[in-house]
Structure formats: C-alpha cells, structure tokens
C-alpha cells in the first residue's frame, strides 16, 4: 500500500492528542517525525506532551523541538482551553523518549531532502516551525509534496472576530507558509466546528474506551467542562486537529475548493484572519468548505477503539 510520508508539526494540546491517536490508527501514513511548536501551551509543556504521546503510541521516530515563540509578536497560549499541562489531567507515560537533538526546521529540511519531494507536513499548531524552515532553507518549498494544515477560517474565528487560534498566534508565520508556493490544504474552523461532539457521542466514546482506557473519555470530559466553565463564546467541543489528520488519511472526508488565501498580519481587530478569495485566478491553497461528518466520526471512533 502506498503511504503518505509525513512529519507531524504540533503543539499538543487536547485536540492535537486525538489527532495523533487518529494518525497512529492510520494504515496509509508513514510517520517520519514529530516537530513541536509552542502554541496551546508554552514550549516546556508542549515538549513534555509531544514526547509523552510518542511513547504512549509507541512511535520510535524523532521528536524534535522547534519555536518557543511566534516570529514577531508576543506569545500567547490556550491554557484556558487545554489546562495547565496542555493535556488536562491525562496520565502520560513516565519514561518519555529524549527529544532529538536537531531543531524542528533542520529536521524538516533533512527529511525533505532525503525523501526527494515525497514529504508531506501535517501541521496542526501555529506555523512558526515551517515559516522558519522556509526562511532558513529557501529551496525547501520545491522539496515538499504538500502541507495539510489545521488553521484559519472562512467565517468567524475563535480568537478575535475572525482569527483562528493557530493563525492568530503567529499570523506572520502563516503568511510566509501560504506564500511559499507549496500545495496547501487548509482545514479551517468553518469545517472543524461541524465536528462538535454531542452529548450522545460523549456517551458513545465513554462506552467505546471502557473502564480500562477511561483516561481518554475523562480527557474529553475535561475539554467539555472547560468550555462550559470559561466564557469562550461557544460550547461546542470540536476535534479541530483530528479533521486535518482524517483528511490526510481519506480525502473524501472533506470537500475542498481552490482559493487564494492571505493572512492578515495586523495586530488589531482582524489579527490572524485568513482571507480566502474563492474567485481568484491565482489560488495558493485548497480550502475545506464541507465535511462528511459520519465518515469522520467513524474514523475517530475506530482510533479510540484501537487506542493503547
């Protein structure tokens, strides 16, 4: 079976964790490494989570650390969503592997060269690592097959009026990535919010994982409660990052349309806004516009059934 050769660029993160579970369950993904970037939490915690999840999932690929802050503007996190650890109270293995000594952007380039145009990036955090890689290695865009990313929105955002968190954190990095010329598939909030988990589905998950693996359902419960306690403007618990992973595994899960996407790099009302022009004759990305929710949900449940 042909497999996507991927590097997972992530800031885990509760929904990142479930995306990683999904990737671990995939038969058509060949994981070449994990690169960590500050986003949902500060770098120390992200590094701990990335290493711990790699151990949990028995991944023996390199885990490389990357940017601990955005390119230009002060760092913010989503601790109010993901908790102090970034992963709620989930008990990660106590003996995580050491991080690889290479920096994220160097590792991405090395793998891109080694794989000779076959490497795809699944980016589910702020795009700082990738932007630095493009700045450091100007020939990198020609060596990547594709970037599938969770970020942006074609309607409202979850930070500011229109900003989606990953782009809001580092809009300059997002703009560099969208200007790179690499084929990009953008999975934004406009579709990920359609994966909100209903109460009945929460019950399904609890039944599926059972008592032995109840830490998974407890983590989702943590995620749900934190939305209820904090005034985040909406109460939908959505599997944002999982949807990007699912698309990489099975493109039929999303309907995509070509668009020219620009990122608003101002720091005011429209910070991080992704402006998708679907009429453009110069598209630089495919943008997700609709989701096959039942198909996606089957994939999520399958990954939970097979979770360690």
């Amino acid at each position: 079976m042909w497999k996507h050769k991927i590097i997972l660029d992530t800031d885990p993160g509760i929904d990142d964790f479930f995306a990683m579970l999904l990737a671990a369950d995939a038969q058509n993904l060949e994981l070449h490494g994990v690169t960590a970037v500050a986003g949902n939490q500060v770098m120390d915690k992200i590094a701990t989570n990335a290493r711990g999840i790699a151990r949990l999932l028995n991944w023996d690929c390199p885990v490389c650390l990357g940017a601990d802050r955005p390119l230009l503007i002060p760092q913010i996190t989503a601790a109010q969503v993901h908790g102090d650890t970034g992963l709620g109270n989930f008990p990660l293995p106590a003996d995580p592997p050491q991080a690889d000594g290479r920096l994220a952007w160097d590792f991405i380039y090395e793998e891109a060269v080694a794989l000779d145009g076959e490497l795809e990036i699944l980016a589910i955090g702020p795009l700082t690592n990738l932007a630095i890689a493009f700045l450091r290695y100007p020939d990198l865009p020609q060596k990547l097959r594709r970037i599938v990313l969770m970020g942006g929105a074609t309607a409202w955002g979850n930070r500011g009026a229109y900003g989606e968190f990953n782009f809001y954190v580092d809009p300059h990095a997002a703009e560099i990535v969208f200007s790179s010329g690499v084929p990009i598939d953008m999975v934004g909030l406009n579709v990920t919010m359609q994966t909100g988990i209903s109460d009945a589905e929460f019950d399904d998950i609890a039944r599926t994982v059972g008592e032995r693996r109840k830490a998974y359902s407890e983590l989702l419960e943590f995620y749900r409660n934190i939305y209820r306690v904090n005034d985040l403007g909406f109460r939908i618990v959505a599997m944002h990052d999982s949807l990007a992973a699912a698309f990489l595994m099975d493109e039929s899960v999303l309907e995509m349309r070509p668009a020219n996407v620009q990122i608003d790099c101002s720091t005011g009302l429209c910070r991080g806004r992704s402006i998708a022009d679907f009429q453009s004759t110069n598209p630089n990305a495919r943008v997700a516009v609709a989701v096959d929710r039942p198909r996606f949900w089957d994939m999520v449940m399958h990954s939970l059934q097979n979770a360690p």
């Binding site: 074609t154 409202w156 009026a161 403007g233 909406f234 620009q262 101002s266 005011g268 009302l269 429209c270």
Partner: protein, 277 residues
C-alpha cells in the same frame, strides 16, 4: 411613525428607497445627499417630484473623514456653509427623535455624532445600509460604503446606541425584478434597476417581524492594510466592551415583495419620471 432623515448619495437605488418611503406614508424630514460614484444628476428633481417638492434637500460635498484629521484637511471653504446647514438639519431631526437612514458612506452622520453628541443621542434609531459580516465587495473583506469612509463608520457604530445594519450578505438578497420600476430609470443599468437594499432596510424598520436580526458586537478595522474598512463582527459576542448592534440577516420574501410592489405603484402614480421638476 418617527420622522426620517435620509442620508444618501443620490443613486438609482436611493430613488427606489424614496419610493418605498413615499408608499409607506413615512414622514421624511430631510434628504442630505453626499455625492458618490453612483450619483444620478437628476436625483434631486426626481426626489422632489416623489414628495411634491415638500422635503428639504441639500447636497454636501464632504470628503471622507480621514482627510479631516490631516493637516489642512478641513472642508473646502465653499463647503463650510452646506456642511453647517446639514448639521443643523441633523440636529433638528434628532431633536424630534427622528430615525437616521443612511445608504451611503457615514461621513456626515459621523461629523454630527462628533460635533453634537448630546443631540445625536436623541436619534431614535440609526439604520445603516452597509458593512459585511464575512466578505466584502470593495475588497475581499470590506463593503464599499464602509470602505469609502471607515473612520466615519467606526465613529457612528461606536456612538450610536441603537443601530441596525443591513449587511452585504443580506443586501444581495434584496433584488427586485427590473420591470418593477420601469418608468423610473430608463437610463439605469440592470444592476441599478434591481437593487432594492434600501427597501430591505426600511422593511426592517417598519415591519420588524419581517426581518430576522442577529446581535453582533462590531467595530470597523482601521489599521490593517488587508482588512481596512471591514466591519469586524464578533458574532460570538465575547468582547463585552464592544458596541452591540443588530444585523438584518434575512427578510421575509413575501413582505419584501409586497413592499417593492407598493413602491412600484407609488412610482406609477407619479407619471413621467423623465421630466425634471
């Protein structure tokens, strides 16, 4: 019904709006015209004919507000008098508790809100045709009326207590058959003959039950080169410090058609619209 002060550019669509006002029996206290790209030279004559010459009309060539803030940016000497007069009309209308209905850039209302805040607060309602929730027409993010003077829009939306906006998304639904107003615009383009967004805004005023509204917190982007002039709508209303305004998101199709029919009827009774009065 409250009297209405109509701030417009004098376009063909503004005449449709006036026809609807005429048909509804609304009391129009004055028309203040700020010329723009779509202005029709015969607008004053046709407006006067619609209302039997009874409504005060004034044209003010005021530049967008940004130029006021630049050195030497005061209105040209020749415009000072019409501007003063327009502001007096705004004040008089506000004193009566009038509704401000704007279908053009918000420069004049903004100058009024800045220069006479006490009386501006007495406007019973501010109706604005303009803005966009997600995507614009002047740029990918900005709607043209707001884009033409974003500083003015920001001032009005920050100060108006009770604004209702009919955004681009809804305006696109406010189309009428070109044959509805055949005798009004023998010269107009197909787009102009069918654009009845102002009529939709009036409907929201006169028949609130026919208009679905959402309350959003909104500000106007002024700094971003990419998004300047966009009405940044916090649709989840998370930032409680921002002003809350109503956005008309849908109109009852039957009610809209009926209002258009009545406006067309009012025009037919007016006779030959090609004759200047």
């Amino acid at each position: 019904m409250r009297p209405i002060l109509f701030s417009c550019s004098g376009s063909a669509a503004d005449l449709i709006c006036l026809a609807a006002l005429r048909a509804s029996g609304a009391r129009l206290c004055s028309i203040v015209q700020t010329p723009g790209e779509l202005t029709r030279a015969d607008f004053p004559g046709k407006a006067a004919k619609l209302f039997g010459g009874e409504v005060p009309w004034l044209q003010v060539n005021v530049p967008p507000l940004r130029s006021f803030f630049a050195p030497g940016g005061a209105p040209a000497a020749g415009e000072a008098q019409p501007l003063s007069r327009a502001l007096a009309w705004f004040a008089s209308a506000a004193q009566e508790g009038a509704v401000l209905l704007s279908t053009t850039r918000l420069t004049l209302p903004a100058v009024f809100f800045l220069s006479d805040p006490v009386r501006a607060a007495k406007l019973s309602k501010v109706l604005v045709l303009g803005g966009a929730i997600y995507g614009g027409d002047a740029t990918p993010t900005a709607e043209s009326r707001i884009y033409d003077d974003p500083e003015a829009a920001e001032i009005v939306l920050a100060r108006a207590e009770n604004a209702t906006l009919l955004p681009l998304e809804t305006a696109k639904q406010c189309r009428v058959p070109a044959a509805r107003f055949p005798n009004l615009f023998p010269y107009a383009t197909e787009a102009e003959k069918t654009d009845a967004a102002g009529l939709g805004l009036l409907l929201a005023l006169e028949q609130p039950q026919a208009a679905a509204c959402e309350q959003y917190r909104v500000r106007v982007e002024l700094e971003s080169p990419l998004s300047r002039g966009c009405t940044a709508c916090d649709v989840l209303c998370r930032d409680k410090t921002q002003p809350l305004h109503a956005f008309v998101t849908a109109l009852d199709v039957k009610a809209f058609s009926e209002a258009a029919r009545k406006a067309g009827e009012a025009l037919r009774q007016g006779g030959d619209w090609n004759v200047e009065t």
